[in-house]
Point group: T
Chain length 147, copies 12
């Protein structure tokens, strides 16, 4: 049986759906996880969906992906812009990586325009909200099929 | 009948599939167009697929989209990084915009990291090659459905 | 009979009056052209009023101005900030140049604060909407009278 | 009777017409004042025309304008580029502001390209010498009429 | 009974009073905590006083504040200058935030002059040592009273 | 009898309470002065409360503080960001200095993030409105008691 | 018969010899073309000599060179400094490229010191006026002989 | 008995010897630890050798070194370039510090050229692979002997 | 009788000799003035020696120099680094100008390394304390003799 | 008899043809010298061909060129990017100067993109290897003929 | 017999031990040379130890190392930060290079943080005083053994 | 007998009086040397006056000054802006240093505004031509008298 895709979420994404539902929608991170699973299942894939506020824990998981995952979809939240450690871990993982953001970070504050994750990612998807998780699954399926 | 999605391609994208097929694949821009049409059709949408090497012509088309399109998917090629005129046209179009690139531009030369298109786009998809056009169609369908 | 003043308008200015009339007013570029003509006529001058979305076409017209115009009033739109080619053409034209903008570009995004046109212009008028075209005609009349 | 337009002049403008008449013309600041008055009178407006070399005195006058003027035309001279205090006073005045310069400051030294005044001004007129004062009066008349 | 004010301290603040008492004074972080409690009590308020060297734990606590605190006083130590994740958590908390530093960070190295916390804080107090904690409590009391 | 604390206010602060009371509150600078006096009196201190729009006059007062004040609380307004002369005067005064702002300047325009006053101040208080004057008095009392 | 060398000229070069002959000489671009042809003929080569003010047209011609030219000598004029699209086209052409300028651009304004063309050119010749076209032909002959 | 030298390793160094042995060698971090111990023993010293992916844990250990170590040899990995918290902890530790890297970081990406660790380190050794740990032990022995 | 040399002193120089005599010497500005007069007298020249904390007053005096002085020696103190108005006044004065500083400003903070005065000065003397005034007089005598 | 052209070569160019002949070719600097002489002779000119690793010696030679040469062709090697002394010497020489490089320096590291030599050179030739010396001789002949 | 290691010292290192012995120690460069020889001898290696104040002479020696040395240990002193010529020579030498500094240059002035030598060095050792020469010899021995 | 003052001149100053006498005057460096000697003699001092185009030779002389000179007056010419080695030598010399320039370097190209010499100099004199050498002697006499 093929290894799962790791879908990893960084700091504050656990607040999704709880905080300001009028703006961000009432979908929680758990809902997003189910939606991601469903799309994966439809494509014959499995997903391991996690969240942490700790940079070190995300590094641990990416290292784990080296052995146990077929690919990594990473929404690193605010750590996207500051963590060289995550970049090093991604490079060491030697798996296909997709960078994901709910909002279009390029239309927000200037310090969110630079991403350390990009340097290790095959592609980037941002600005499509929870829908972006489904698109990332399809993009990953396409990459894995091409190997 | 709903208005088509404009899928607009900028300078040098007409060389796709002709130049270095060992690297970029043998799929031409016409092939990509057909693939994009197919995905749209499956979702009940139509596409108007065009390419130009001329900044002014792209500005004309985006202005035309204001009247005649339901949304714009734009792979502006090198003009992504230099054209304020395209940004102004996109803002005037008052349609949902998706920014698209074949390669992950954030891993290329520094001058390709800044995009004028981003400031007018709801979302960005890059690094997935021709597959990105399909993902963009699905993302646009999702946006149009939510209106 | 004296040569006309060239009043040249760059990308997206053809949308004037069409887009968001509540904000920009219902005056179209054609209306502005008539108003500009009227003021010129009152001062004994003629005007050649044009618009293009193409940088190369604007360069062609500025070169034409070298032979056929008494002066150039240029609202280059977004090309103001990116076109060295227009700067070179203006320098080659050897005619008095007035830089014109509908809005006060210095209160907008930072990339609109730099103008290549300024380096070749005798004066700048910005922020007065369509009224600025009339002021530019009077300023040009004053310059031509002083020659 | 309507409140006058304050036309305020900053450091060194009192030297106008005295210094290098071959270059700057023999018109003094008093002459410019009379010319400004005349244009205002023709449009049914009055002008209060002043000059100071002292930043604090200009701030005092702009605060006075809050109560006693219908608008402010400001040629802040060298203080244009250094005075945040004038910017704050202009914002507090809550009157239409026009920024004015005799020369095209964008063709001079780089430190003259940035203006704190612009951030509070509706429009800018520069490079037309004393004629610019007349254009500014007409532009202000147009703004006041539109209120 | 009203919710407590969270007073959160970042990396290395646990060394207070232990390290170089001749310079930093012999007051430990526990002493500072008692002093902070006393001032709060005098104003009819309660305090929850914590310290961590882990960025992720501070994010967890700020998320907790969203439900359980009336406001947040944050001395983020070195994380002030690098943590976008803390900024995002503060913005999500939707509580009044006061930024606090023992020393005047603006007189130290240049990389300490920029604060991500400031972008989410109503006010800043720095340079008054342990006394600053008391001032922050009074400032917070004033903010809460004004709601 | 001990020397008074000089509380000095820079350009445009005389407009407090007059301008936009709905936003800034109806408290005038005179009200703030009385409040500051009251807090000082409660701590057994006296205050000399002044305002000027003139940089030179503020320098004169800070020089006077060298002989006649026990400490300086300075809200330099816009001169905070531009006046090296005030910095030099503060350094020459050889008195404790507290920097004060009504608003959190770090959330406003970028040019307000740099302060020349900070380089001579023991501490900074900003963002608490008129309340900040009271906090500054208490902080100064604490500093003077520690001498 | 071998393919010709494309000698491509950008915006405003059509004014050569017409504008200020006292300074730039009375040689027109047509004269330069004849001189270039002559040198090529002497070396057994042919030349296709063109000029355009339109960026898109230059991109079209460089794409054409991919099929129809043995090499490209490019004097891109002002587009040298702004056109990423031309850079991309040159890279796609997979032909030897020589960058050419009439004047020594490194002694002119700072914005002319950066060239996008250089990143795709084997060599650069600048500052020798029309003579530079002859030198470029000889340099290209040498490159082609070495293949 | 003298206190041990803390030899601390940051994120991703636990992958040493596991990842790409053809490139990085088959020596694991445990092997490096034994080699470091051996050199220390030969010089009459002991070593406490640790690794963590968590910035906060490294800060905890450096704080522990304040009481329990004679010196700190730190290979902070990616945190070298981003962690102000580690810098603060090192300064508080008041022990000799040696900065260590396996590779010559000055030949890698630009963001690896700046080190916060350097500001607290007596010396730096980089580029000698596992051998660098032995050199660092000898350098530390020399420093400790000189105290 | 020849016009005097204006020796003008800016903000805070009135504190000379009063503040920290152990460091700056016990010579007051009045003493320096007498010394300057003596050197001038020995060379057959007269001096007008003034000081002000007000930028506007210094501008007034430099304008006065235009009519009434043979040259200007200017120690502008902190205004050296911020006043464009003084630069404009010096250029308008059309007299030889010598820039003077007591200390070597190039060894102090970075913001003191840039001088607006230099752009209008024939020469600069700094770092020699009160002696510098004598050297400046001799340098000015030499310049005036060469006219 | 006319004065010779000085062809001066800077640091490390003496290694040409010795180091990595597979890459740089087996032509030594002596060979290049002979080729340069031959082209000069064919055009009726003579050449003085030299090399030094010492900046001071190159300055001496350029000073000598002032008296003894008709023009200077300078391949300054690495000193191109760092030597203001060579720039000053070239300006003092008052001879036509051609800047020469074997490789296209604009495609190498960023610190090689700036040239002090360019500011004193009439033209630049780079990227054509040893062939560039011949082209430089022809360009110099053309310049000398035009005098 | 194997070729010696060149240990090369740049400007001002000849003053070692002479200048301020209380700070730098009384060990002269000759002493350091003997210590370096001793360590080399213990490892079965020989050393050629030299010093020069002249950049050109250091370039000559590095070129000589190409033929006559097994490796280069370089303490380039101040030339570390300014000499591109030394970098080019090191690259041409095709020998292992170790960069050495007595002090930790990263804790000194900002202009000492950049090193041209690093780009050609396998490793860097700095901050250990004369001890660093011994460590460099051991590191070089390790490198040579691994070849 | 007291040690002489070293007056050292850098690259290209040997051309003084030879090059463009209409501009720089007909005084040669030898003339300037005699004038410098005369002023020194009048003050009871002696001078050692030298010139070199070689950085290394200037470093040698400054090292010699450590033993053999009472002070150093240095006109380093172009090396002022590039030589860290000269700065280090000046710091090691432990003698009073005066920086000297013939022209006002602050009115020339931007790269001449930064001086490494300033960081080691007590004072700076520039812009007074050969007269500056006399002023420097008097300033040095004053410094030496004050020791």
């Amino acid at each position: 049986m093929p290894k799962p895709i790791f879908v990893l979420n960084g700091p504050n994404l656990n607040l999704l759906g709880v905080r300001e539902p009028a703006i961000y929608g009432s979908e929680t991170l758990a809902d997003v996880g189910r939606r991601t699973q469903a799309r994966a299942q439809a494509l014959g894939l499995t997903v391991d969906f996690r969240q942490s506020n700790h940079e070190g824990e995300l590094v641990d998981w990416i290292q784990e992906a080296r052995e146990s995952a077929s690919g990594v979809i990473l929404n690193a939240g605010a750590l996207t812009h500051t963590s060289v450690a995550i970049l090093d871990a991604l490079n060491a993982a030697e798996k296909p990586v997709i960078e994901l953001h709910l909002s279009n970070v390029f239309r927000r504050e200037a310090f969110r325009h630079h991403s350390y994750v990009s340097a290790a990612a095959q592609g980037v998807i941002c600005g499509f909200g929870a829908k972006g998780y489904e698109l990332a699954i399809e993009a990953m399926a396409n990459i894995l099929a091409g190997r």
